[in-house]
Symmetry: C2
Subunit: 204 residues, 2 copies
């Protein structure tokens, strides 16, 4: 395509490197920015560079953070006695958006996958064991919730973590698997439906 | 939602100001940039600011340009005797991507719309008339193609332009309207189909 301007071509090519954004969408976004105030483009590009260059990882839970500790670990109103183990920041945000969890997190940074050559040593597992075992605080960790995807890799990782944390005697649990709320039984796959019968919950 | 980092929250909020990008997509893009080299974020943000601050409008056709003249107007291999009138840069790029047109353009910058209070004086119409009338060049304009949308506003604008350019005696045409190539007759709307019968093309 003959772009009327090299600068637009450059911008479109950079925008379309983002996942899920093709040339057409990139062009639409570029033309949108051209129509708006210069300040919008400036604050967008500053926010991106600041995020990329100034964020770091929380020394406690390995989540993305502005400082040594992330906003969750440094929040005194969070329940310090419970840790939810997730794969990455996206999972933290997904759980945070439910407003159902007030404890802390531990971000593994990946999942055990022999096929991709990712073993336990590549993940933040040692620091999780240390958090659970070295407890000289007023509020020791009482429970570890595993919030991993119900896939082969997720189950393998969960199994490994259970074995590693068992000696500490901490209570362990996993998020419930079953038919999604609002989902029609008819459309649930057999494995999920089968598992939801096996793991049925008794009425109180 | 409780973001673990203020910097990410700022970036997500800036990205989600773009059209068609919600909070979830913005977060996905932000986390993607975090995983990549710092240089990618820097070149993206530089390309955006450069595009926004350094582009200008072509003095001849009002298209977006890096210099006084856009890449199309300054290209000596383009046919200088034919001008295609479009609403905005997006239309120029759409036509360029067909590789079927080798002439110049004229970008109106909008379309006559009494409902939105946009009249002929708000558009780049005087400069189009001047391009067609003041012809002291070796290659005078011989034809003006109107490539406007087949809507009420497009037809009104086309009608106005025909009236304004008639005294110059320039040949005028409009892009063909009809059943889209590859489209099934069954699915064409009645107005398009009706018009394609009225404007039928005789075989040579």
């Amino acid at each position: 395509m003959n772009y009327p301007s090299q600068l637009i071509e450059d911008a479109v090519s950079e925008i379309s490197r983002l996942p899920g954004i093709g040339k057409k969408t990139a062009l639409r976004l570029a033309l949108h920015l051209l129509k708006r105030e210069e300040s919008q483009t400036r604050s967008l590009s500053e926010a991106l560079v600041n995020m990329r260059t100034k964020t770091t990882y929380c020394v406690k839970c390995h989540n993305i953070a502005d400082d040594q500790l992330c906003n969750i670990c440094s929040n005194p109103r969070r329940d310090q006695t419970i840790i939810c183990v997730v794969v990455d920041t996206r999972d933290v945000l997904a759980i945070e958006s439910t407003n159902q969890y007030k404890g802390l997190y531990h971000v593994l940074g990946g999942i055990i996958s022999p096929l991709e050559g990712i073993g336990p040593a590549d993940l933040n597992i040692e620091s999780l064991v240390a958090r659970v075992e070295n407890q000289d605080t007023d509020e020791p960790v009482k429970e570890v919730i595993l919030a991993l995807s119900p896939t082969m890799e997720g189950d393998t990782t969960a199994f490994y973590l259970q074995k590693k944390l068992k000696p500490s005697g901490v209570k362990m649990s996993t998020i419930a698997r079953g038919v999604p709320i609002g989902g029609d039984l008819e459309y649930a796959d057999e494995i999920t439906l089968g598992r939801s019968i096996v793991s049925r919950v008794a009425y109180d």
